[in-house]
């Protein structure tokens, strides 16, 4: 399970009658996104970010925690509770308890939690009657026995307790993303003025004038910025958008470089190129049911016809599945060509795509 840093800000977790809570959440989400582009808002007041990348960048998890706490304080003037653990379920509990769970210890941490941590009173009541008081004790019940003693909700919770699922049903507010998108759309002009260019200094005004000249010369799409602030998926969040345009949320439907980890390809193809992989007998390479390759790839073919030898490959790795795209089965693979170039490929529905080049 992915190691996550959870941020819990209780004061902005419930909507106040005078409004502003959602906007405060949005502001905080955007600020945290600048620290880590893969920050997600789970529900009001709860944010998570994968901690591996940022901790390398900031120089340790401790440093990331400090940066996050400072960031929350700067934006909301509140003190956040933060914690680190594997999987969303444990990460939220760790944050509320203000704990950093050492790598690999999340299971033990989960097992010691009281049954109430699973979030259902009826389940906890039944459990206590049976003498089951902790998540661990609940997890130890054989799955077949669950139906005999608990109601239908218990199946999923049992899987969470066993660590087969990383989050509770209902832990995420799935309607929140929609609301945020709607609010952002209505506040577009504000975003253009303040979002990217934030606090306007002289350097920024000069840059803006230069950008206008280029746009005048080459057209509205010609000058772009990396949009790290808006969007739903990590890929959307790092999309390129025309400078000065409202941040558009787009999905080309094609696979993207994702979670292979560092180093990351320095060229990430916005429109991945379809390629073919062949083994040494010139047979197409397929990804099998269990995520294994049909043979070792020996050649890659680009269109227009160009054939290069592959000297090394790694993967395929199934793409870390995220809740909004569970229906998509994707895998990624790294290859080295005979000329020493490194590339990132993606496979979806048995088609191969070139998605990144490590130039």
């Amino acid at each position: 399970m992915e190691r996550l840093l959870a941020v819990w800000v209780e004061e902005i977790a419930t909507e106040s009658p005078e409004g502003g809570t959602v906007r405060m959440n949005i502001a905080l989400n955007e600020a945290l996104t600048l620290l880590c582009p893969f920050t997600e808002i789970i529900r009001l007041g709860l944010f998570v970010l994968p901690v591996r990348g940022p901790s390398r960048f900031f120089g340790g998890e401790e440093a990331v925690l400090h940066a996050v706490l400072q960031c929350v304080f700067d934006i909301t003037s509140r003190r956040a509770r933060v914690g680190i653990a594997e999987g969303l379920f444990c990460a939220e509990l760790a944050a509320k308890a203000e704990l950093v769970i050492a790598p690999g210890e999340s299971e033990a941490f989960r097992r010691t939690q009281p049954l109430e941590a699973l979030g259902r009173k009826d389940l906890a009541a039944t459990g206590h009657r049976l003498g089951i008081h902790s998540v661990g004790a609940f997890a130890d019940i054989a799955p077949a026995r669950i139906a005999e003693r608990f109601n239908r909700h218990a199946f999923v919770l049992h899987r969470v307790a066993r660590g087969e699922l990383s989050e509770l049903p209902g832990q995420r507010d799935t309607s929140l993303t929609r609301r945020i998108t709607r609010l952002n759309d209505s506040g577009e002009s504000v975003r253009e003025q303040l979002g990217f260019f934030g606090q306007r200094g002289a350097g920024e005004i000069r840059a803006e004038e230069a950008a206008k000249r280029v746009r005048h010369r080459l057209g509205p799409e010609s000058i772009q910025v990396a949009n790290v602030a808006a969007g739903r998926t990590p890929q959307d969040r790092t999309a390129m958008v025309p400078w000065g345009s409202p941040a558009a949320i787009r999905d080309s439907g094609a696979p993207w470089p994702g979670q292979v980890g560092h180093p990351s390809p320095v060229t990430a193809l916005r429109h991945p190129i379809t390629v073919q992989l062949r083994d040494e007998f010139d047979q197409p390479i397929r990804v099998g049911e269990r995520g294994l390759l049909s043979a070792a790839p020996a050649y890659i073919m680009f269109t227009p016809p160009q054939r290069r030898s592959i000297t090394w490959h790694a993967g395929p790795w199934p793409l870390v599945e995220r809740w909004w795209q569970q229906s998509r089965r994707r895998a990624q693979m790294q290859i080295l060509l005979d000329g020493g170039e490194a590339m990132l490929l993606a496979n979806e529905n048995q088609a191969w795509w070139l998605t990144g080049i490590y130039d």
Binding site: A31, L34, P37, G53, R56, F57, Q70, C71, D74, I75, F196, G198, Q199, R200, A202, G203, E204, I205, R206, A207, E208, E209, A210, A211, R213, V214, R217, L218, S222, I223, Q224, V225, A226, V228, T238, M240, P257, V260, H262, P263, S264, P265, V266, T267, A268, R270, W312, A314, G315, Q334, L336, L337, G339, G340, E341, A342, G356, I357, Y358, D359
Partner: protein, 218 residues
């Protein structure tokens, strides 16, 4: 973090836009990060100079160029990137580039030199990868513009589109090899440093670019 207690400058935008970087700059150099700082005698990029990064495609030239601007970008300087299609923004962040202050002109078509010149007026550093063979005259004009504006130009030179004029500083990737185990871990590149009248002519350096952390590293 974003809020400011300071009132906004009262100068008009047009006026501020006309102020030259050299007048705003507190120093005549832009900072270089590790591992580059130790390679260059001044330990920084001098304003008004052009640096050429010479590498075959896929050998790490782009990573090197981005690595060179990382420290300045982090310090608040604006960066322009011309002719680099589909930049990998995660990799850029890893190399230390602050994406909030980067303007991209990914596909300048025939007007790469003109758009580079436009950007040189407004940002402190410009990375340019000419999409076609750069003409002698256009390059000379650009390098003059860099001097005049006190900016820093970093030009990517590839065998297919070599930079035609000698630069103040040049990084040539002589050799590049990936380290890999169960995945790509980092690339070891051998860099030959050169440049006009510099003390470090033809010194050789070996760095990891990117390292396992995505950064540049000795």
């Amino acid at each position: 973090m974003f809020a400011s207690a300071h009132p906004r400058p009262t100068l008009s935008a047009e006026l501020i836009a006309k102020v030259r970087p050299i007048a705003l700059a507190t120093t005549k150099t832009l900072p270089l990060g590790e591992p580059w700082r130790g390679m260059v005698s001044s330990g920084a990029l001098r304003r008004g100079t052009t640096t050429v990064v010479d590498a075959a495609p896929g050998q790490g030239g782009l990573s090197l160029a981005l690595g060179l601007v990382g420290a300045a970008s982090m310090k608040g300087h604006w960066v322009g990137v011309v002719g680099v299609d589909d930049p990998g923004v995660v990799a850029m962040t890893d190399l230390g580039v602050d994406l909030r202050r980067v303007l991209f002109v990914p596909r300048p078509r025939g007007a790469w030199a003109e758009s580079t010149a436009d950007l040189l007026d407004g940002v402190d550093l410009v990375i340019v990868r000419p999409p076609s063979i750069p003409a002698h005259g256009a390059v000379r004009k650009l390098m003059d513009r860099v001097r005049e504006r006190g900016a820093v130009l970093i030009a990517l030179s590839e065998p297919r589109s070599p930079w035609p004029l000698p630069a103040d500083l040049s990084f040539k990737i002589a050799h590049s090899e990936w380290r890999a185990s169960s995945r790509l871990e980092g690339r070891q590149v051998t860099i030959v440093l050169g440049g006009r009248g510099s003390a470090h002519n033809s010194t050789e350096h070996v760095v990891m670019l990117p390292s396992a952390l995505g950064k540049g590293e000795k």
